[in-house]
């Protein structure tokens, strides 16, 4: 069997990710097979015969091989799971019953004012006072459309598990605050919160907050800097659930 150029690598080390390793191995097998079928002349094959010999149907077979092994893909974009739920792992639940439960969330008993710490995050911009409002998860396009139609209730602190700047584009300017479960202060959502002047914690590790809970976020904390990220320095702001 022909050996591909890339398989004579002195410093060869497989990819770190098992799915990447498996997929690449299947692609290499495909290339080797098609090269042999074409007569084995690499220079004629690489930008000639391979253009038609390696097809979309071949890559569909690679996907099928992985799925046939029982693997289901993790998803990041809602549309991916919605269109092909059979190839992606299940969703985690809907708003109302849903709460983000980060395993590293810092939790503490209620203080004398009834504030119960439910986590921490990285502060985007320092404000003169902490931000208090009502937690509302924003996780789907349907929720955004409902907020566009019915309005975002005053005092909403949006809890978003997406550090991007597009899911909430039509309604972001109506949030009293944002808690984002991912990203850094330099993520798109952090950049936009800074532009709009919306109090915001990024990279938040929170637990047990439900839709409708009254919460307080410590936006008086120092804003986390790029240097702090590079140094790996801890600079966090608290998230509290308030007594009902």
């Amino acid at each position: 069997m022909a050996k591909l150029f890339v398989e004579r690598d002195r410093y060869d080390k497989p990819p770190a990710n098992a799915l990447v390793e498996a997929t690449h191995a299947l692609v290499r097998n495909l290339v080797r097979r098609r090269l042999e079928e074409s007569g084995g002349d690499w220079n004629a094959f690489v930008f000639g015969a391979s253009n038609t010999a390696i097809t979309q149907a071949d890559f569909e077979m690679i996907e099928k091989t992985i799925l046939d092994s029982g693997h289901r893909f993790g998803w990041t974009a809602m549309i991916s799971r919605r269109e092909r739920p059979e190839i992606y792992v299940a969703d985690e639940g809907e708003a109302g019953s849903f709460s983000i439960n980060h395993p590293e969330a810092v939790i503490a008993a209620p203080d004398k004012d009834g504030r119960e710490q439910r986590g921490v995050g990285d502060n985007v911009t320092r404000t003169p006072t902490n931000t208090i409002g009502v937690a509302r998860y924003v996780r789907t396009t349907e929720q955004v459309i409902a907020f566009m139609r019915d309005g975002v209730p005053d005092g909403t602190i949006a809890i978003i598990d997406d550090s991007g700047g597009t899911l909430t584009a039509p309604i972001i300017d109506r949030f009293a605050g944002v808690i984002c479960a991912g990203g850094t202060v330099r993520s798109h959502l952090g950049i936009l919160a800074r532009e709009y002047g919306i109090p915001c914690l990024m990279n938040s590790k929170i637990s047990g907050i439900l839709d409708g809970d009254r919460i307080e976020i410590e936006t008086t904390a120092l804003a986390k800097t790029a240097e702090a990220y590079q140094r790996g320095a801890e600079m966090t702001a608290c998230v509290w659930r308030l007594a009902k």
């Binding site: 890339v6 990710n17 220079n43 253009n51 097809t55 998803w75 990041t76 396009t141 955004v144 002047g197």
Partner: protein, 506 residues
């Protein structure tokens, strides 16, 4: 093999450029953040765009250069706020191409020496454009200038500074400009499918009162060459808007090759003390003032544009919320791939089949681009640098990481000793897209058909790029500012200025 073998010096130079791209990309990816999105399958579209760049850029660059050289386009780029800067040409053009190449090497689809002529073409185009665009600060890119971008000449900065409208927290212009900047930034992220490539910054530039000026560009905003903006952006009056912004009590210590800035202390709205607004494109004679007649007019303009962009955001978002996964991926892959398409507009050779289609050689990979694999391979390619082709001798200590890795595989010198190689991927192939572009291209000369846009672009040369002025550089101005020719040059730049129209060079 079709062309002549490269020379040793050509390979040395190409590999130096590849390594410069690798170093900056690793730094950007270590210090910035990998972006996720629940709306867009970002990693899948990025990986597809890199492949599209690999299979299409070389041929498209040759087509552009048959009409206009990279260095001439670089000259034009200094005189407009279009997608001809960071991150578009400065980073996207070479790196999207190189990322596609590296991924294909790791999968065994190509060898390091394959497409050698193409690699040379892309890197050489990039080098000549960048040296020209950075002509005034004398660097190849922002990275080699310790992350700074002093692109503009004295004559343009003088106009920007003189015409700035002062503002302070609490006054209507400050509120209006702050609101506009937030809204247009949000719109930019949406237009560019959850990427920051519609927004860029250059500078800083020192102002006379020791404050600093950052020039912010917002690009590809209207119905021009992104088909998903057809109809939804019909009320957006300009495709590109530039906001020179004077800032006090803060130093911009870093402007990177993605066009992002960092400042000390952190820039916040209350530090904004002066602002302006301009439009430009491949058909404008430099920067056109927009609403700059008075402070009130600029306030009203920002307020009006704020509403226009909010409405366009809502319409675009609702359109996108109904897209299929293939539509999301096509849009994202195209907006990334065509990050450098403005070079074709400037040269007057833009074609939908060139810049708004996915090549079948790239598209065939689509079935493996599920969210998990794409995020995994992207993370390995630019984050952990852990794909097999990226592993180097254990003695290697890479810049920024000290790891025995190379983000990009250099071209092997062994081709000079007779090793074989396939020189090029060949012509682009008939592509496909989920989107059909309408015949409306909004320019500063009105809404045109594509044919008309190309025709006018081919016939147009901005005044300061005419042969008479093109090489009147900052060194020449330093010693010839009293000459009539310098006056002519400065007056050309000052046309339309509210405060110094006709002042000249003295």
């Amino acid at each position: 093999m079709t062309g002549a073998r490269p020379t040793y010096v050509e390979l040395l130079e190409t590999n130096r450029l590849i390594q410069a791209c690798a170093d900056e990309t690793l730094w950007l990816c270590l210090t910035r953040t990998v972006q996720g999105s629940k709306l867009f399958p970002v990693s899948p579209y990025m990986m597809l765009s890199y492949l599209n760049a690999f299979y299409r850029y070389p041929e498209l660059l040759r087509k552009v250069e048959a009409r206009m050289t990279a260095e001439e386009i670089g000259d034009r780029a200094r005189n407009m706020g279009a997608k001809l800067q960071a991150s578009s040409i400065a980073w996207g053009l070479p790196n999207f191409y190189l990322l596609g190449r590296e991924w294909l090497i790791s999968m065994g689809m190509i060898r390091p020496q394959d497409a050698l002529d193409d690699v040379k073409t892309v890197m050489d185009f990039w080098k000549r454009f960048m040296l020209s665009w950075h002509r005034n600060d004398g660097h190849l890119d922002n990275s080699s200038f310790a992350h700074r971008a002093q692109i503009l000449p004295d004559r343009r900065l003088e106009v920007f500074e003189a015409d700035l409208h002062a503002c302070a927290p609490g006054d209507p212009l400050h509120d209006a400009s702050h609101a506009f900047l937030a809204t247009v930034s949000q719109y930019g992220f949406l237009v560019s499918c959850e990427s920051r490539i519609s927004l860029t910054n250059h500078g800083p530039y020192r102002l006379r009162d020791n404050s600093e000026m950052i020039v912010r560009d917002f690009m590809d905003l209207s119905e021009t060459s992104l088909p998903w903006l057809d109809d939804v952006a019909k009320d957006v009056p300009f495709n590109n808007l530039t906001v020179p912004m004077a800032v006090k009590d803060c130093h911009f210590y870093l402007v990177d090759d993605w066009g992002s800035f960092e400042s000390k202390p952190e820039f916040t709205a209350e530090k904004l003390c002066g602002v302006g607004l301009y439009a430009s494109d491949a058909l404008s004679d430099g920067f056109i003032p927009v609403g700059m007649g008075s402070k009130q007019e600029l306030t009203d303009t920002f307020n009006r544009y704020n509403e226009i962009f909010k409405e366009a955001t809502n319409r675009l978002w609702l359109k996108m919320a109904g897209w299929t996964r293939d539509e999301f991926i096509d849009a994202g892959a195209l907006v990334y791939f065509n990050i450098c398409k403005e070079i074709a507009h400037v040269a007057g050779v833009f074609e939908v089949d060139d810049w708004l289609m996915i090549d079948p050689r790239a598209d065939r990979f689509r079935p493996i681009l599920n969210d998990e694999f794409a995020a995994g391979v992207l993370g390995e390619l630019v984050g952990s640098v852990s794909l097999p082709s990226q592993q180097a001798s254990p003695y290697t200590m890479a810049m920024h990481s000290n790891a025995p890795k190379k983000l990009y595989t250099p071209l092997p010198y062994s081709v000079l000793a007779g090793d074989d190689y396939a020189p090029t991927v060949g012509p682009i192939q008939k592509g496909r897209s989920s989107f059909k572009k309408n015949e409306r291209y909004r320019t500063t000369q009105g809404v045109l058909t594509l044919d008309e846009y190309n025709k006018r672009a081919r016939a147009f040369t901005p005044t300061v790029c005419e042969d008479r002025y093109r090489f009147l550089c900052e060194t020449w101005v330093k010693y010839n500012h009293e000459s009539p020719l310098a006056d002519e040059l400065y007056r050309a730049e000052q046309r339309g200025s509210r405060t110094i129209d006709g002042k000249g060079a003295r």
